[in-house]
């Protein structure tokens, strides 16, 4: 049971990181650690910023 839960958690972690679910959490941690005291964006603002970044710097997709 414990092992199955661990595997499920690992898969969940992988999928979440691949698709982007935990990117915001990681951003908050990074801000707190490296820029303490500075404002942290809300999740809504964060994703707006991410999409704006793709807007001017699109990721190519291969043929």
């Amino acid at each position: 049971m414990g092992r199955a839960a661990e595997i499920a958690r690992q898969i969940g972690w992988y999928w979440g990181s691949l698709m982007g679910d935990n990117h915001y959490r990681r951003y908050v941690e990074h801000r707190r650690a490296n820029h303490p005291g500075e404002p942290v964006m809300s999740e809504r603002e964060y994703w707006k910023m991410r999409h704006d970044a793709i807007e001017s710097n699109p990721n190519p997709r291969c043929c």
Partner: protein, 764 residues
């Protein structure tokens, strides 16, 4: 442990037997582990067994005759070769050329900004990189190449990947990582000088346009006259917009959640497509001709490139990633469970004669041109430079991501080849020969393929019609472009494992939807990328054009988008109205374009290797470069100068011109004066493009040779690698961490949380 010795910089080395630990700060755990332990006996035995197993599988594929070769042998041969290639050849490249230095910070660590620069867990980055490089090419190319039998294609997809494709991806990734993630065009300018650089940048742009056009042509071929397919693909647009609004307004950041909802809706759209196609209004609305479908895609491509990213492009990209990874895994599982038998011959009569209906020309060079991305893809160089280096945690991980990513892509190519090889050969040619030859009805198609002299029992018109009805289509005759054949093969494999014959039509349309979805994602992302390349390139000319480089100037963005869309859109329209069949004349141009891009990338890489003083190892990128140049230049030569009108664009052009001058209104495939003019125009454009591509690449190559000679004689341009900066984070190199790496990781995990962590490492 031995006493620590401080190197001139702030690097502190400690040796413990065969393992060297490198610290960049004395209070922090090591940031790099160099393990020089010799290979263990256990590993020797394991790799020995893998090598023997691979050799047996290869022998069975190559020498076993009688049409009973099981698809599983292909999978075994491929995987064993990949393991050996990754463990030994990639390791050699790593040790002799790449020489990763994990004590130096990667661009991701150095410029971390939470958007495009982000150190990302290697397994996650592998997924990102694979999703970015995997596209329609490795699925479609091997299907078309099946015209020559399964053996030549299998050999090239596997061996070509190990010695060419993976080498290119890996080395481009490594040189871009040492240059702060600069793009291929920028690196060409830095390393080859102004002329070589300019030719490379123009080459990349022109090549990109033809790639987008041919990809769109594949979608048109798959969807034309198929209301079911058109409906399910059309539904992806409202689904994506819904997802975009959900993520923007309702629940920001819930990407997996919305992707799951999106995939569920997508499956519903595939099922609903069957119902809609049954109704008279559905058949009425969604049965589109090739020309109207092309216009839809052109309008869509333009809209997607100017609409906000969050509304259409980003959510479609999520859907496409989800579907791509999921479907490829499903197909692999299906092949292993169904274990289908090859129907195709090992080497067909068309391999030597070069008279095949799917694409013209002999095995050399056109097999290599047709397979393209499955074994060596120039397009990957655009992803290995620019995108992936900005997410890379450690230089030591480049082998896994660059080399390993391409091995996975090659495996996708092998699966595509298997799905085409298990089809009835008569059916295969009925689907892939151009309409001018099959005559578009089941009966004429049956007569045509029975006359080809294929092995196996002849097919009847009724059998072709039955095959079409089994997958829910009215006809499958001359469904060229490779995508329908792949979908047909996939439905053949998947229905045996999941759902039985009643689900055959569902699986066919599921596969069509999956291919069209990610081809369209490539088309819209590609249009956007090409638009930026164009505005950047025009901006470099200076003067009033400088304004184009400002991305927030909407008018400029619109103008450049229109230019890019008009460029690929006109080639697309030219392809769909081509009396000669479109895909069989344009696909070679697509392959040549892609392979020429690879030649540009390999030239840049080889020059860098020589400049670094590694002339002795320059053969590693040099051999694939020379091979690729030989293939593409031979193909370009034949396309330009061949006297055979089926192969040479210009011979064909002048034949039709002569026919027109003689006052004829019908000649060859052209049935009326309009078609005659169309052939004359199309062959002129295709012939001109062939010349332009070849000329640009020759310029880049010559610039490369000059730079390399200067470097060998001493002098010449200096290398443009950036000064290394010490790293302050640790991450294992391989997929599975070694024992030493685990111990070091533990030391880092024991630190207070304030230290740098990569995306995703929070869960450990």
């Amino acid at each position: 442990m031995a006493t620590p010795t401080a190197a001139p910089s702030d690097r502190i080395e400690e040796r413990d037997g065969d393992v060297t630990y490198i610290r960049t700060e004395k209070d922090l755990p090591p940031v790099a582990v160099i393990d020089r332990s010799p290979i263990t006996t256990r590993h020797k035995i394991i790799f020995g067994v893998i090598a023997v197993l691979g050799a047996i599988a290869w022998a069975i594929i190559a020498f076993f005759r009688g049409e009973t070769v099981n698809a599983v042998w292909f999978v075994i041969a491929a995987i064993c070769t990949y393991v050996i290639g990754f463990r030994f050849y990639a390791r050699l490249i790593e040790m002799k050329i790449v020489r990763p230095r994990d004590e130096n910070a990667t661009p991701a660590e150095l410029f971390e900004n939470d958007t495009d620069y982000m150190p990302t867990d290697r397994r996650v980055l592998f997924g990102h990189h694979f999703a970015a490089i995997a596209g329609a090419g490795p699925l479609v190319g091997p299907v078309l190449a099946m015209q020559m039998g399964y053996l030549p294609g299998t050999i090239w997809i596997i061996i070509g990947a190990v010695f060419a494709g993976c080498v290119q991806d890996y080395l481009v990734l490594s040189i871009s990582t040492r240059r702060r993630g600069r793009s291929l065009g920028q690196m060409a300018r830095d390393e080859l000088g102004a002329i070589g650089g300019a030719a490379a940048i123009i080459g990349v742009l022109v090549i990109m346009v033809i790639l987008l056009a041919v990809l769109a042509l594949v979608v048109v071929g798959a969807l034309a006259e198929s209301p079911w397919g058109v409906f399910s693909i059309a539904m992806t647009i409202p689904i994506a917009i819904f997802m975009g609004i959900y993520l923007r307004v309702l629940r920001p950041g819930r990407v997996s959640e919305v992707s799951l909802i999106g995939v569920a809706l997508l499956l519903l759209a595939v099922v609903a497509g069957g119902w809609v196609a049954e109704t008279s209004w559905g058949a009425d609305w969604f049965t589109l001709s090739k020309v109207s479908l092309s216009w839809c895609i052109i309008i869509y491509g333009f809209a997607a490139s100017v609409l906000p990213v969050w509304l259409l492009l980003a959510p479609r990209d999520y859907l496409s990633t989800f579907m791509k990874v999921g479907t490829i895994a499903l197909l692999a599982l299906g092949i292993l469970l169904a274990r289908p038998i090859m129907e195709a011959p090992a080497i067909s009569q068309f391999a030597t004669k070069g008279t095949g209906p799917v694409f013209a020309g002999a095995l050399f060079p056109f097999l290599f041109i047709t397979i393209a991305c499955g074994a060596l893809s120039g397009f990957h160089a655009l992803i290995s430079s620019g995108t992936t280096p900005k997410l890379l945690e450690k230089e030591g991980q480049m082998r896994l991501i660059g080399y390993g990513g391409m091995l996975t892509e090659s495996f996708v190519g092998i699966m595509a080849l298997i799905t085409a090889a298990i089809l009835n050969q008569h059916l295969y040619f009925a689907m892939n020969a151009p309409a001018a030859q099959t005559g578009t009805t089941a009966q004429t198609a049956a007569d045509y393929v029975n006359g080809l002299g294929l092995s196996g029992t002849p097919i009847t018109g009724a059998e072709i019609t039955d095959a079409a009805e089994a997958v829910g289509e009215k006809t499958i005759v001359s469904r060229t472009g490779g995508a329908p054949t792949l979908a047909f093969g996939m439905s053949e494999v998947l229905h045996q494992v999941f759902g039985g014959t009643s689900l055959k039509a569902f699986w066919y349309h599921f596969a069509i939807m999956f291919e069209a979805l990610f081809i369209l994602t490539t088309v819209d992302a590609g249009t956007r990328v090409a638009r930026f390349m164009l505005s950047d390139g025009l901006g470099n000319l200076g003067g009033p054009l400088k304004k184009l480089q400002n991305p927030s100037w909407r008018v400029g963005a619109w103008i450049c988008s229109v230019i890019v869309v008009a460029a690929w859109g006109s080639i697309l329209l030219m392809g769909v109205t081509d009396p000669l069949g479109g895909i069989n004349t344009l696909f070679p141009l697509f392959g040549i374009a892609n392979q020429l891009l690879a030649a540009i990338a390999l030239t840049v890489v080889t020059v860098v290797v020589i400049k670094r003083g590694l002339l002795k190892w320059a053969w590693i990128p040099g051999i694939p470069l020379l091979w690729d140049l030989t293939v593409t230049m031979t193909a370009s030569w034949q396309k330009i100068f061949s006297g055979d009108p089926k192969v040479g664009y210009w011979t064909q052009h002048y034949q039709y011109v002569a026919a027109k001058d003689a006052g004829k209104t019908a000649f060859g495939a052209a049935k009326n004066a309009g078609q005659l003019d169309a052939v004359i125009r199309n062959t002129f454009i295709q012939g001109t493009l062939s010349i332009v591509f070849a000329a640009l690449v020759v310029i880049v190559f010559v610039a490369g040779v000059i730079m390399a000679l200067k470097a060998i004689r001493g002098g010449g341009r200096p290398l443009t690698e950036d000064e290394p900066v010490p790293s302050r984070l640790f991450a294992p190199s391989g997929l599975i961490p070694t024992k030493t790496e685990r111990e070091v990781q533990k030391q880092w995990d024991a630190l207070p949380k304030s230290h740098a962590r990569s995306v995703g490492t929070g869960a450990h």
